[in-house]
């Protein structure tokens, strides 16, 4: 029997980790540059990068599923995690659009 190449939990954790890193970057920028455009700009860029990363992750998860490396529930969990993380990234970024200096 062939050994599993990558742990099946990694795609789930990765999606939420992208959200967490995005959140921390946005928060740190707001603390470092309070009431300045830089904080908002960092948040916009971080949001674009985070969504892009989630998009790439989505493609990779589907590709691994097609190759049979990510079977059944792991695939469903990974997709669910990406969906939740994407929504959370967008939701977290809203203040950067609404609250301008």
């Amino acid at each position: 029997m062939k050994a599993l190449r990558l742990p099946g939990w990694r795609p789930i954790i990765l999606a939420f980790t992208i959200w967490f890193v995005h959140f921390m970057v946005c928060w740190a920028a707001a603390e470092i540059w309070p009431h300045q455009w830089a904080a908002n700009a960092v948040a916009w860029v971080a949001t674009a990068i985070a969504l892009l990363a989630l998009g790439v992750h989505f493609v990779q998860v589907n590709a691994r599923h097609a190759e049979g490396q990510l079977p059944g529930w792991q695939h469903r969990f990974a997709l669910g995690a990406i969906a939740i993380a994407s929504a959370a990234v967008v939701f977290s970024a809203l203040p950067a659009i609404v609250f301008l200096p």
Binding site: E31, P71, I84, F99
Partner: protein, 869 residues
């Protein structure tokens, strides 16, 4: 000889064929189960003898999860009662304006102890205690993988908690609130040792929680019944896995913040003193980075208890099982992004509070998804009407009310009005009572037959429910009103003309109604558990009175299950009605004691494929003695009895070493028959070993603690750069990094040296000793360079932050020194044999981690700020 495959075996073989193996185990071997024919005479008796709990005064040396778990639950509930009594005194004081039942200082101690005890001595320990008792049964493991660690965790908690609580009887209890904010808790405003009791007591209890969490994570990942893949794992086991991971990520912040405040109080290092380059907001950030996830650390396992019980109550599989698991994972993650919603009113930048407000509302979505799954399961099933179901439904209702008011206070504008008022008090009591206390009570009614073969009274249970349910609303609903009317928290009295008298009087009546419910429960529990005979104490005949489908209902004794079944369903007992009989007849894995010692089956992390037989340690005095001396060390430190404290510290180290001395055992039987002729090894090292996983988790904990120290440094640099006045001594950088690189390299090389050289065992011991020496010299170089540069800990935020980081690193280096000594001693006694041994595997991870930590403490203050000062 086999009969037709059971649904569990057939499903496990089928599932294994569809997916690649994780370990190379041939899943077709499962087809040998259930075996046929009788088992050898005396096999069960031998099993019972090996797992027997010591009696009399030797019971203190017991380490079995049933025994320790039960004590743990009883102790946690005892603290709940004690903290509840404190709240009743507060409610009497507040029943009428200008009452004089207790003086103001005593009142301050009461609310501080009520909050601290409920959060640190009841809520987290209670969910951990239930997991200690329930998890092995649910996974069909014989015990948790480190039973002595469970015992240590319990005794540390029980001894430390009791002494901490007793402080209130001597007016030594802390009085600065359960969060202990500076500057109020600094030595300027909180003189005496009251605050130190809190800091050292709580820090000590955190260590106990982390020890338990490591054990539970390894338990979930490595001791599941064969075939129980992650997809087939009970939702409760998922929750405990998430709970454990959250503890090892969140609790380090608490350990670091208590460490920093104690440094400030003891040595006048101004970490939180804004006049000297510190910042009180740093404390709040660190505290709430622990504090808010802590709420979910409590809620997630309790919610999984609800999910487990609702399946039985509705006699229907959980609607959206995968969604519920995903929701718990999402909740856990997002809970780490909401900590500053406790700080909306401290003057954070507007954008910053916007992020935390958004995350606070977002976290309600996955929590809400779980509630919908419960409602759907109940609505589509055939609901049993009994005491557990009443507590479940009542708890959901209360929790939803708490959750919705949580969304309200998550809004910055509203929080500005409600912050520090009784509205918030009502909100979090609704959340915690609905999200934790009611599920706990439901759990008592649900799992008591599993524990002692009897049921708590159904009739009394209904009375308990209605008294508690009514009491909660009568007590806390008016608090929303008094909060909106402007009544602040933590005041010991109020003026008559504020119109707060009536809602407060009603709240007091409600508190006593709830107390009556708890008292009634206590009487019933004593009646039920106090009776002699029957199957008490895990001694046998667990009755599945509610027709539960999960494996804990197979529990037959201290050894959990007679034999460990092959599982392929979320409710295996529903899928295979014959399973209970086959398990009890010893027709599955490990029907005996294969090595003559306590043992359990270690399986792989994802697919639960059998890997090896773990020989488990039996009863021992060392865990309880270690806990006793650890408690002595911390508590004597609190009262500044330095010599006695040092003696306790030395004794703690000795007991810990003596405890683990016998754990790494090579036995003559290299492989044993685990049933049906399947042979598995008895000794495994490296990533396949469960001990290696625990060592990695410990390093993660240490890494998180140090990460918090680095955060503290960066925060203070950012907040008060004007206090960074000493130029960083960069001359120490290169020699320090070389020494640390050598240390890591030597520790890494210790294993290949052992495996490849003729005298490899001695070479590896020498490499480990040299590695330790390099670490010590690097630390000394680091400290001396700062000292010679003129940096002093009490002079500025810079000095305090740098030396705090180094002090923590020094503690890690001290543990490395002791470990190196321990390993050398083992080598001298011939207990460090090649080609590999578990002790070396665990210690080299610690040494490599310590070298990395040393590099970080060397680099960070020398590179940031780049200007040097």
């Amino acid at each position: 000889m086999t009969r037709a495959a059971t649904p569990g075996v057939e499903g496990a073989v089928h599932a294994a064929a569809a997916e690649p193996s994780e370990t190379g185990f041939d899943a077709r071997l499962y087809e040998r189960f259930p075996t046929q024919g009788g088992r050898p005479a005396g096999e069960l008796e031998a099993l019972e003898k090996v797992w027997k709990t010591p009696t009399g005064w030797r019971a203190f040396s017991a380490v079995n999860n049933n025994f320790i778990g039960f004590l743990f639950i009883v102790t946690a509930f005892g603290f709940f009662i004690a903290a509840g009594i404190l709240s009743l005194v507060m409610r009497v004081q507040l029943a009428a304006p200008m009452a004089g039942i207790v003086p103001q200082e005593t009142y301050n101690q009461l609310f501080t102890m009520h909050g601290s005890v409920m959060m640190f001595l009841f809520a987290v320990p209670a969910v951990e205690a239930i997991a200690v008792m329930l998890l092995p049964q649910m996974l069909a493991a014989r015990d948790l993988p480190f039973p002595r660690l469970s015992a240590y965790s319990y005794w540390a908690y029980a001894i430390g908690g009791t002494v901490f609580f007793s402080s209130i009887f001597f007016s030594l209890a802390p009085s600065d609130g359960w969060f202990m904010y500076p500057p109020l808790s600094s030595s300027v405003y909180s003189k005496g040792i009251n605050a130190d009791f809190w800091l050292l007591g709580i820090g000590f209890i955190e260590i106990s929680a982390i020890a338990g969490a490591i054990e539970l994570i390894v338990g979930v990942l490595r001791t599941r019944a064969p075939g129980m893949t992650l997809a087939k794992m009970p939702v409760y086991a998922w929750a405990i896995l998430i709970f454990g991971v959250m503890i090892i990520l969140a609790f380090p912040a608490m350990i670091m913040v208590t460490f920093l405040l104690e440094l400030e109080r003891a040595f006048n290092w101004p970490l939180f003193d804004a006049t000297r380059g510190g910042d009180p907001l740093l404390y709040q950030h660190l505290f709430w980075f622990f504090g808010h996830p802590d709420v979910y650390i409590i809620f997630i396992p309790a919610s999984a208890m609800v999910s487990t019980m609702i399946v039985t109550v509705a006699q229907k599989k959980l609607v959206g099982h995968e969604l519920v698991v995903l929701a718990m994972i999402a909740t856990a993650f997002i809970s780490f992004g909401v900590w500053a919603h406790h700080m909306f009113t401290v003057g954070l930048p507007g954008l910053s509070v916007g992020y935390f407000s958004a995350a606070s509302m977002a976290v309600a979505i996955p929590a809400g998804a779980q509630v919908f799954a419960w409602i759907c399961t109940l609505a589509s099933g055939k609901v049993q009407r009994n005491a557990p179901s009443l507590f479940l439904v009542g708890g959901i209702l209360i929790f939803v009310m708490g959750g919705l008011t949580g969304v309200m206070v998550g809004m910055v504008a509203f929080d500005g009005q409600a912050h520090d008022t009784y509205f918030v008090v009502a909100h979090f009591h609704y959340v915690l009572i609905g999200g934790m206390v009611f599920p706990l009570l439901a759990g008592f009614y649900y799992w008591t037959p599993m524990i002692n073969g009897r049921q708590l009274s159904e009739k009394v249970g209904r009375w308990v429910f209605w008294l508690c349910f009514t009491g909660v609303h009568v007590s806390f609903l008016p608090m929303f009103l008094s909060g909106l009317m402007g009544m602040p928290r933590r005041v010991n009295t109020y003026l008559p003309d504020r119109d707060w008298g009536l809602p407060n009087l009603v709240s007091t009546v409600g508190a006593f109604i709830m107390a009556a419910g708890v008292l009634l429960f206590l009487i019933d529990a004593i009646r039920c558990y106090g009776r002699k005979g029957g199957g008490g104490g895990g001694g046998g005949d667990a009755r599945n009175v509610f027709n539960g489908g999960t494996l804990e209902w197979l529990s037959a004794g201290n050894y959990s299950v007679r034999s460990i079944p092959v599982v392929n369903d979320l409710e295996p007992l529903w899928a295979d009605p014959q399973m209970a009989k086959d398990v009890e007849a010893g027709r599955y894995f490990l029907p005996n004691t294969a090595t003559g010692a306590r043992e359990t089956l270690i399986t792989s992390t994802l697919r639960a494929e059998p890997q090896y037989v773990q020989i488990m340690p039996g009863p021992s005095w060392w865990p309880v003695l270690s806990a006793l001396f650890t408690a002595g060390f911390f508590l004597l430190l609190t009262v500044q009895a330095m010599t006695l404290s040092a003696v306790c510290g030395v004794l703690t180290v000795f007991c810990l070493m003596r405890w683990v001395w016998g754990n790494d055992r090579h036995i003559a039987q290299k492989e044993v028959d685990v049933g049906a002729g399947i042979l598995l090894p008895t000794y495994v090292t490296g990533p396949a070993s469960h001990g290696w996983w625990a060592a990695v988790l410990l390093d993660i904990v240490l890494g998180m603690i140090f990460l918090m120290a680095m955060f503290a440094y960066l925060y203070l640099v950012g907040a008060h750069p004007d206090w960074w006045r000493i130029a960083a001594p960069r001359g120490a950088l290169m020699p320090g990094l070389l020494l640390l690189g050598a240390s890591a390299g030597l520790a890494y090389a210790a294993r290949p040296l052992m495996a490849r050289l003729k005298r490899g065992s001695g070479a590896s011991a020498a490499a480990m000793t040299l590695s330790m020496l390099c670490l010590v010299v690097a630390l000394a170089l680091d400290v001396l360079s700062w000292w010679n540069a003129g940096l002093r800990g009490d002079a500025s935020g810079q000095g305090a932050a740098v030396y705090a980081m180094l002090a923590w690193h020094g503690a890690v280096v001290l543990s490395v020194v002791l470990s190196a000594f321990y390993y050398a001693l083992r080598w001298v006694r011939g207990l460090a044999p090649g080609p590999a041994n578990k002790t070396l595997e665990a210690l080299r991870l610690l040494f490599i981690y310590a070298a990395l930590e040393g590099a970080a403490s060397l680099l960070l203050p020398r590179l940031l700020p780049w200007s040097g000062a």
